[in-house]
């Protein structure tokens, strides 16, 4: 029989994560309403960022589509919110995003990465204009009202989406599928020649990542209560996950989480009084990171840890 030694070090990480989860799950019992809203926002950005990384991380294909999926989720909430139960509406939002991603992926993932990036870049503007035209000319509405849901429920739904996402992301990373994804990112041609159905893997991964973004949109819509194409399809929700992921560092699993939490919190601090300075800081950080810190914060942490370990081993 094999015995795995249960050492304190081995228990540390799972223990921390477990504690964190318990804290998050019981948040509504002890935190102020403001904190609940804040954590919801932070979780939203984490979901956007981590789901972006699921696809764009290993494959290296830069997707600027998250805002489109987010918007689809928002509109699903607006349209169906009154007729279906909340969780069903969220699920439909996720599913609709999945379908959109399948369509986009099937069309453009066969092409070079730059075309994919360009295509997803304009996608949000496209949908926004189309929806605007449609709402004005076809349905006669301009903006819609979304059902009101109390903040604690919103928080719990977002938490649920977050947990589902983390499990999915971790599962993919450790599975056969994740290995195939990685090989595609390393060398797509070689991966194809060893039996990986490259297009299929890319499209499916892209579609899976869209589900969570759409679901997040679906629940966040209920917080804003009034939405129109400009609010729902805001390119910012494509740019922010990219920045947060790069800043956090995509080499480690925790990198995107770190980047999202930091910048989401920064946003809370600055957005009401200094919105332009916040975005300016955003841009500057992105440029600085790309120039000097390509592995992001996580890369920096890894280097520091390795340096620490080396020093430890050097002293007998």
């Amino acid at each position: 029989m094999k015995h795995i030694k249960v050492t304190p070090q081995r228990l540390l990480l799972p223990g921390l994560v477990g504690c964190l989860l318990v804290l998050l799950a019981t948040l509504s019992l002890y935190a102020s309403p403001y904190t609940i809203v804040l954590i919801t926002s932070i979780l939203m950005y984490v979901v956007l960022t981590v789901s972006w990384v699921i696809f764009s991380g290993p494959t290296g294909y830069i997707s600027l589509a998250p805002a489109a999926f987010f918007g689809v989720g928002i509109y699903t909430s607006a349209i169906l919110g009154r007729t279906l139960p909340l969780l069903v509406v969220i699920a439909v939002g996720g599913f609709a995003s999945f379908c959109l991603a399948l369509l986009i992926g099937a069309l453009t993932l066969r092409l070079r990465g730059i075309y994919f990036a360009i295509f997803t870049f304009g996608l949000v503007e496209l949908i926004k204009h189309f929806l605007l035209w449609w709402e004005i000319n076809m349905t006669g509405t301009r903006g819609r009202f979304v059902i009101v849901v109390n903040n604690t429920t919103i928080y719990h739904v977002m938490l649920g989406i977050f947990v589902a996402l983390v499990l999915t992301a971790y599962g993919i990373r450790r599975s056969k599928f994740g290995l195939a994804l990685q090989s595609i990112g390393e060398n797509e041609e070689a991966a194809a020649h060893i039996g990986v159905n490259v297009t299929l893997v890319k499209v499916i991964t892209f579609a899976i990542s869209a589900i969570f973004t759409g679901a997040a949109g679906g629940i966040m819509a209920t917080r804003w209560t009034y939405i129109d194409p400009y609010i729902a399809f805001n390119p910012l929700f494509s740019f922010m996950p990219v920045l947060m992921a790069i800043f956090g560092g995509m080499g480690q699993f925790y990198g995107p989480f770190l980047g999202a939490v930091i910048f989401a919190y920064l946003e809370e601090l600055l957005i009401t009084r200094f919105p332009y300075y916040y975005m300016l800081l955003f841009g500057i950080v992105l440029v600085v990171v790309i120039l000097f810190l390509p592995d992001g914060l996580a890369g920096l942490i890894q280097k520091w840890r390795k340096g620490g370990q080396a020093r430890q081993h050097a002293n007998p």
């Binding site: 990685q182 090989s183 390393e186 060398n187 991966a191 194809a192 020649h193 060893i194």
Partner: protein
């Protein structure tokens, strides 16, 4: 049985024919060499066989089945594997994982993770890379990266292996080791089609040699026939060699 055959295989890039109406075949169990000056179209031909490119016009058949127009992963699963002229290992993945992916996806039959891991380990043993299974592929020497590519290709359980300049950039010792590896692979029953510039290897290992020049097949035969063919000597081995003979 002709495990691989091509009829009128042609590929134009713009106005230039990289490969021009080439008919070729490989018998099961052979080791066939493909030689020709640089730019003769050898790698393009391999790309046409492996599915990276589509011939127009032309037909390629593997075990009697038409494979023109199929995607590379489909052709791989049918039993054709290849290595690349400029080594395309998965640089940031460990050696073991490089082979593991191929073992998991390259076979048409479903393979369990445990079986694939066993396969990968055995293949690393076969090519002599077991000791480096945890090393990142980009930290290997060129010779070892080539071995890794071979192990990775073998993990897909091919019946036909396309080797694209396996010995390029290797020193004499490494070349000898590579030759021995090729012989061992052949001993396992795998048919081999190899592009090479190292004449020593080609002449010693191959049963038959095909010669390309400017995209056309200009000669075909046993090593002795090719070595003494005036046409080949002129075109490939150089005017000075011809003057000496």
């Amino acid at each position: 049985m002709r495990i691989l055959e091509g009829e009128g295989v042609t590929k134009y890039f713009g106005g230039l024919a990289a490969v021009s109406y080439v008919d070729f075949y490989v018998h099961q169990g052979e080791i066939v060499g493909l030689i020709g000056p640089n730019g003769a179209g050898k790698t393009t031909l391999f790309n046409l066989i492996s599915g990276a490119l589509v011939p127009r016009p032309g037909v390629i058949r593997f075990k009697g089945r038409k494979i023109t127009g199929l995607k590379p992963h489909q052709i791989c699963r049918m039993g054709v594997a290849r290595t690349f002229q400029s080594v395309k290992v998965f640089a940031n993945m460990p050696v073991f994982e490089n082979v593991l992916v191929a073992a998991l996806f390259g076979n048409s039959a479903r393979v369990s993770s445990a079986e694939a891991a066993k396969e990968a380990a055995e293949l690393l043993e076969f090519v002599g890379l077991s000791a480096m299974r945890a090393t990142l592929a980009r930290d290997l020497t060129l010779a070892n990266q080539k071995r890794l590519e071979v192990a990775r290709a073998l993990a897909t359980k091919p019946e036909l292996l396309l080797l694209d300049e396996l010995m390029a950039g290797l020193n004499p010792t490494e070349i000898a080791q590579a030759m021995e590896l090729v012989t061992r692979i052949h001993g396992q029953g795998i048919t081999i089609f190899m592009i090479e510039h190292v004449m020593r290897a080609i002449m010693n290992i191959c049963n038959r040699i095909i010669v390309l020049h400017h995209g056309e097949k200009i000669a075909e035969g046993t090593p002795e026939e090719i070595a003494t063919s005036r046409k080949v000597v002129e075109v490939y081995l150089g005017e000075s060699a011809h003057a000496r003979s």
